[in-house]
Symmetry: C2
Subunit: 108 residues, 2 copies
């Protein structure tokens, strides 16, 4: 046994981290901390092109980090707090050192 985490899980987690690996998307997440926002609000706040925002919102949505809701001609996005919390948990686990884990010393 070399690892305690399935590779398929790692791929999934990697995709979520990738969604957070872009400054524009982090700005979006930051804005959404304040609550639900429609795309036009986000476009104004970031002063970014419409297709560009749409691209990044899609990336966040596919990673499960945000949820959307159509309201008439507008679409509102909000943080998926559960998923963000889950991800924070993954990182917190890394800070807790594993005890009783047999060290395989290949080199002295």
């Amino acid at each position: 046994m070399t690892s305690r985490t399935a590779v398929s899980d790692l791929k999934r987690v990697a995709r979520v981290f990738h969604a957070l690996s872009d400054p524009t998307r982090l700005q979006l997440v930051d804005l959404l901390r304040g609550g639900e926002r429609c795309v036009c609000e986000l476009t104004d706040a970031l002063d970014a092109g419409q297709s560009r925002l749409s691209f990044h919102l899609k990336a966040l949505k596919e990673a499960g980090l945000v949820l959307d809701r159509r309201d008439g001609r507008w679409v509102h996005y909000r943080l998926n707090h559960e998923r963000v919390e889950e991800l924070a948990g993954v990182l917190t686990e890394c800070c807790a050192p594993i005890k009783g884990w047999v060290r395989s010393r290949c080199c002295a």
Copy 2:
């Protein structure tokens, strides 16, 4: 004021998240949770090419997520728990909804 977080910070954070956006690197982080490991142990565990591992370890190192230590002809890598904890903090902040933040409704 559109955001509460400086863009320069976002770029820095984005780079760290990017380091975690690859399954191989997540596997490395997972292995390092068990403590310090030399490169040959990691190469064995992942059954990966040597230059490939070196590439990914460099990425983690430049993101500040791991630290290295030369010991004779071997190099040992370990998690930088402080940095991982810091990143977990960034995510935890996102889960705490911001109160008293005036909503700018551009659309009803």
